[in-house]
Amino acid sequence: MSETTILRTEQLKKSYEKGKYILNNFTFSIQKGEVVVIVGPSGCGKSTFLRCLNLLEPIDSGSIYLEEQLISAKDKNASKIREKIGMVFQSYDLFPHKTILDNLLLAPVKVQKRNKKEVEQEAEELNKKKIELDLEFRKEEFLSKTTIWWPETKGCNR
């Protein structure tokens, strides 16, 4: 393993039905700063893999390391680990009872316990920047907002 490996899996196995592995001995690693695209037909396990990385799906066996720390152990505090692994879902998944701003403030304020005013200001600044960045993502305006405003977002499920 090189020093800059940020996330890796070893012999990851995951099945929804007994014996039918959707991920079978999957070993994989990502270096810091690397952009990795996982491509495949629908139902081949792309989303499942991402969900496993984020501990949203329990795995059958194997291990997941984040910054060389085993995170797939049962006794790990999942929400602490998820603070470090962002995820954008296929259907954007805003919380419909909150405004966009409140959607964005939720994680920084509740999880990272940051000052609300400060985050609000940051969001404002990013909102100005967004205009140029948006060109890249024009089709999914909502998505781009969340991607840009959440610096910790890393996994993007499309």
Binding site: L56, S79, I81, R82, I85, M87, F89, D93, P96, L106
Partner: protein, 228 residues
């Protein structure tokens, strides 16, 4: 002189007595509803338990409540407790117990159905942000559940207010009972009093329940518009 029957309502303090009776009805409904909300949330969460046997028990509870007429439940609790357990509870306490037993089951079912109407990805998104289970429940699930719950909850309250009229049969002096007393007392002086007194009771129930019913409708409409 031929008396207009309506005057019976204004003899002495009859009308005030009716209102005091109505207050007793509302007190029962309000206390039972408040308790139903608390227990209903618990029952609703239990109905979504991982354990099959807990869900089964909740199912049985709900079925029992739905199948048994409230009147039978009232008799069972009021007379049953006195005869078999030797507990002498007032009719009002028995009524609150029964209505809570009923309301918690109905409320539980409402909570259950609004919980399952929240898409799974709402939970996942919350977890993915690093929120704990508790934070997801408080900040994401409950606010959305309450919105879906309000219209049917208000409807349940209206049903409960109307059903309190049954408690007259276990001796609670509420609005129907007061009405009967007034009718009995003026049976010879005002023969048509029954019509007027029950008419007044009808109006009182209507005045109380209609706004709630309207409120439920407008909450429902509001929710639908929002979710479009």
């Amino acid at each position: 002189m031929r008396d207009m029957g309506i005057s019976v309502l204004f003899q002495g303090n009859n009308f005030v007595r009716l209102l005091i009776g109505l207050l007793a009805s509302l007190r029962i409904a309000a206390i039972a509803m408040a308790l139903s909300v608390v227990f209903g949330v618990l029952v609703g969460m239990m109905m979504r338990s991982k354990h099959g046997w807990i869900r089964f028990l909740c199912r049985c509870y709900l079925e029992v409540v739905r199948i048994m007429p409230q009147l039978v439940l009232l008799f069972l609790v009021y007379f049953g407790a006195a005869k078999h357990l030797g507990i002498d509870m007032s009719g009002e306490v028995a009524a609150i117990l029964v209505f809570t037993f009923w309301g918690a089951a109905e409320m539980g079912d409402l909570v259950r159905s609004s919980l399952i109407s929240i898409p799974k990805h709402q939970y996942d998104s919350g977890y993915a942000l690093g929120l704990t289970k508790w934070q997801v429940t408080v900040h994401i699930i409950i606010p959305q559940t309450v919105k879906r719950l309000l219209p049917s909850g208000v409807n349940l309250l209206t049903r409960m207010i109307k059903t309190t009229s049954l408690v007259v049969l276990i001796g609670v002096v509420e609005v129907v009972k007061v009405g009967k007393q007034i009718i009995d007392a003026s049976r010879y002086t005002v023969p048509t009093s029954a019509l007027w007194v029950y008419g007044a009771i009808f109006l009182l129930y209507f005045i109380i329940c209609y706004p709630f019913s309207k409120l439920a409708t407008s909450l429902e409409r509001h929710r639908k518009e929002e979710s479009v």
